[in-house]
C-alpha cells in the first residue's frame, strides 16, 4: 500500500511530502519530497543589499530566527573583516542561547505530542512563550526578530530584560525537570523512542549530520567549542553526547543542551558590561537618527549607506555557526558590488533529512513519525 504522509499534516513539521510504501504497517520504501516551501531565498539575496537580506534569514528556521540573524551577520562581518563590540557579542550569545532553548523546547515538545505524550508539551510551551516575550522586549517582534545588524545589533536590550531573564532561568529549569519527570523514565516513551532511528557515528558523519543528531550518535562536534565565535571559548559549558543516535538519545542530548544553554545565559548575565552595541564605523553602521538630523557628515553617511550600500571587498567566505539544528553555514561571494553576488545557505536539516529513508526502512509508520520529529526538520530552512 502507498500512503502519502504530508505535504500538509501535523507531523510533517511544515510542508513536506513523504511517500511511504508499506507492507502492513512496515515501511518498505520512503520517498521524501521537499520544495513545497521553496521561496528562492538565495536568488532574492542576489538582488538585495547585505542589510536587506537580514529579514529573509528570519524565515529560514522560524523557531529560532535570531540564530539565523546571528549566523548571517557573522558571515558578512567576516567578509568585511570587522569585529563587533564586546557587549554586542555578549547579547548575541544571550539571545542565541535563548533561541536554542526555544527551538529544543519545540522540537522535544512536538516530538512528544506526535508520539502521543501531550502534557510535557504544555509544560514546555509555557517557557517558549516567555522566551518570545523576551524577544519582543529586545527586538520588538516575537517570531521574525531581525535583531542583528551588520556590525552589531539593532538596539540594546531594554530595561527590565535582565531581571525577567533571571526569573526565566529559574522557571525554565523547573519546567525542564517537570518534562523529564514525565518522559525520561516513562516506559511508553522508552518503547517509542529507544532503538528507533539509531545511526552509527561513521554513518552520521557520512550523511553530513550536524548538531544534536550528530552528537547523539556519539560525535562531540560543536562549533561553539570546536571553532569558537562570539567569545564562546570564554564560557564554561559541556557538550552532551549520546551513544546510539536513536530518538531517545536525541531527546536526552537536547534536554541536556537546554540546561547547558541556561548555564551560558547565566554567565552572560553575570559579565554583561555596558558599552556600545554597534561598531564605531560610519561606513558600516547607520548613524543615530538625531545625528542624521543635526550633522552634515552623519547625513551623508546615512545617505551613502542607504543608497549605495557598504563598500564590500571582493572575495568569498564561508561562515558557520552552531544553530539549534546544527551547522548553519552562509557562503557569500562578493564581487565588490552593493548586493552579494551569491548567497548560499547551508541548512543543517537538509543532510539530516536526506537520510530519512535509511532511518525508517523496515520500521513502522509510527516510527517514521518519531524519527521525523527527532530530526527537527524545519521546512522553511530545508526549502529556503
Amino acid at each position: 500500500m502507498i500512503v502519502n504522509m504530508g505535504p500538509s499534516h501535523p507531523t510533517t513539521h511544515g510542508t513536506l511530502r513523504i511517500v511511504l510504501e508499506l507492507e502492513g504497517e512496515t515501511i518498505t520504501k520512503a520517498t521524501p519530497e521537499m520544495g513545497y516551501l521553496h521561496r528562492g531565498v538565495e536568488k532574492l539575496g542576489e538582488s538585495l543589499s547585505y542589510q536587506q537580506f537580514i529579514p529573509l534569514t528570519d524565515r529560514l528556521n522560524y523557531c529560532s530566527s535570531i540564530m539565523n540573524n546571528v549566523g548571517y551577520t557573522t558571515a558578512v562581518e567576516k567578509l568585511l573583516g570587522i569585529e563587533i563590540p564586546k557587549r554586542a557579542q555578549q547579547i548575541r550569545v544571550l539571545v542565541s542561547e535563548l533561541a536554542r532553548i526555544a527551538d529544543h523546547l519545540v522540537c522535544v515538545g512536538v516530538n512528544a505530542v506526535d508520539i502521543g505524550a501531550f502534557t510535557a508539551f504544555l509544560y514546555l510551551f509555557r517557557q517558549r512563550e516567555t522566551i518570545y516575550d523576551l524577544f519582543e522586549m529586545a527586538a520588538g517582534q516575537r517570531l521574525h526578530t531581525s535583531f542583528t545588524r551588520i556590525g552589531g545589533l539593532y538596539r540594546d536590550i531594554p530595561e527590565g530584560f535582565v531581571p525577567l531573564t533571571e526569573r526565566f532561568l529559574v522557571e525554565c529549569e523547573a519546567s525542564i525537570n517537570e518534562m523529564e519527570n514525565l518522559l525520561t523514565h516513562n516506559p511508553i516513551w522508552h518503547d517509542r523512542t529507544k532503538g528507533i532511528g539509531a545511526i552509527s557515528p561513521e554513518d552520521a558523519v557520512n550523511w553530513g549530520y550536524t548538531g544534536p543528531c550528530l552528537r547523539a550518535a556519539g560525535v562531540p562536534q560543536d562549533l561553539r567549542k570546536a571553532q569558537p565565535y562570539l567569545g564562546y571559548e570564554t564560557y564554561d559549558f559541556d557538550i552532551p553526547v549520546g551513544t546510539t543516535g536513536d530518538v531517545f538519545d536525541r531527546y536526552l542530548v537536547r534536554t541536556e543542551e537546554m540546561r547547558q544553554s541556561l548555564r551560558i545565559i547565566r554567565q552572560v548575565l553575570d559579565r554583561l558590561e555596558p558599552g556600545p552595541v554597534m561598531v564605531d564605523d560610519p561606513k558600516v553602521a547607520l548613524p543615530p537618527k538625531e545625528k542624521v538630523y543635526t550633522r552634515m557628515e552623519s547625513l551623508i553617511h546615512h545617505f551613502k549607506l542607504i543608497m549605495h550600500g557598504m563598500e564590500m571587498p571582493v572575495g568569498e567566505v564561508y561562515s558557520a555557526t552552531e544553530a539549534a539544528n546544527g551547522e548553519l553555514g552562509f557562503y557569500i561571494v562578493s564581487d565588490g558590488g552593493k548586493n552579494p553576488y551569491r548567497i548560499r545557505v547551508r541548512p543543517p536539516c537538509l543532510p539530516i533529512f536526506s537520510s530519512f529513508e535509511e532511518q525508517v526502512k523496515g520500521g513502522l509508520i509510527a516510527d517514521a513519525v518519531a524519527v521525523l520529529g527527532a530530526m527537527n526538520i524545519i521546512a522553511g530552512e530545508l526549502d529556503r
Partner: protein, 164 residues
C-alpha cells in the same frame, strides 16, 4: 597544510589558490576531482559540509562547483572549486559521501549542472516540469511565469520581464 599535501602527492593538480579571511580555497580541473577527493578523505577530510555552485555567465567555464570540506580531527576547512562549462558534467560524489546525493540534486535543479554517476539525478526543490534553472544569473527574478506574474511590475527589478 592540506594544500601542501595535495601539491606533494598530486603535483600540478591545483590550478589556482587563495586564502581570504582564513578560508583556504583551491581550484582544480574537473578531471582531477575524484583523485583530490580520495586524497582528502585519506587525509582526514571526511566531512563533506556542502556542495553548491556559482554562476559566472561571462566566463567560458561558466560555473564553479564549490565543495566545502571539514576535517573533524583538526577542524581544518577546505574549499575546492571545480570550474565547468554549460552542458559539461562533473563526477558525482554520492558513492563516497551519502550527503552528496541531495546536495548534487539541488545543484542540478538550480543550476542545471549534471553529475556523472549520480544514482538518482532528479530535481530537488522545484517540480519535474519546471522550466529552466532558478539560480542561474539569466533566470528572471520574478520567475518569468506568465500566468502568475501577468501585469507584475515588481519594484526590485524595475518591472523587467526577463525570460520573455
Amino acid at each position: 597544510m592540506i594544500i601542501e599535501h595535495i601539491d606533494a602527492q598530486l603535483p600540478g593538480t591545483v590550478t589556482d589558490r587563495h586564502d581570504f579571511r582564513g578560508d583556504q580555497t583551491i581550484v582544480i580541473a574537473k578531471e582531477n576531482l575524484l583523485a583530490v577527493v580520495d586524497l582528502l578523505h585519506r587525509e582526514g577530510f571526511q566531512f563533506l559540509v556542502d556542495i553548491t555552485a556559482v554562476d559566472w555567465p561571462e566566463r567560458e567555464q561558466r560555473f564553479d562547483v564549490v565543495y566545502h570540506w571539514l576535517n573533524l580531527a583538526s577542524q581544518e576547512r577546505l574549499r575546492v572549486k571545480v570550474p565547468v562549462a554549460d552542458g559539461e558534467s562533473v563526477a558525482s560524489l554520492a558513492g563516497l559521501f551519502k550527503t552528496a546525493n541531495w546536495f548534487e540534486r539541488e545543484v542540478f535543479d538550480l543550476f542545471g549542472i549534471r553529475f556523472e554517476g549520480h544514482p538518482d539525478l532528479r530535481r530537488l526543490l522545484t517540480w519535474d516540469d519546471f522550466q529552466g534553472h532558478a539560480l542561474r544569473k539569466d533566470f528572471p527574478l520574478d520567475g518569468g511565469d506568465v500566468f502568475c506574474m501577468e501585469g507584475c511590475t515588481a519594484p526590485y527589478n524595475n518591472g523587467e520581464r526577463g525570460g520573455e
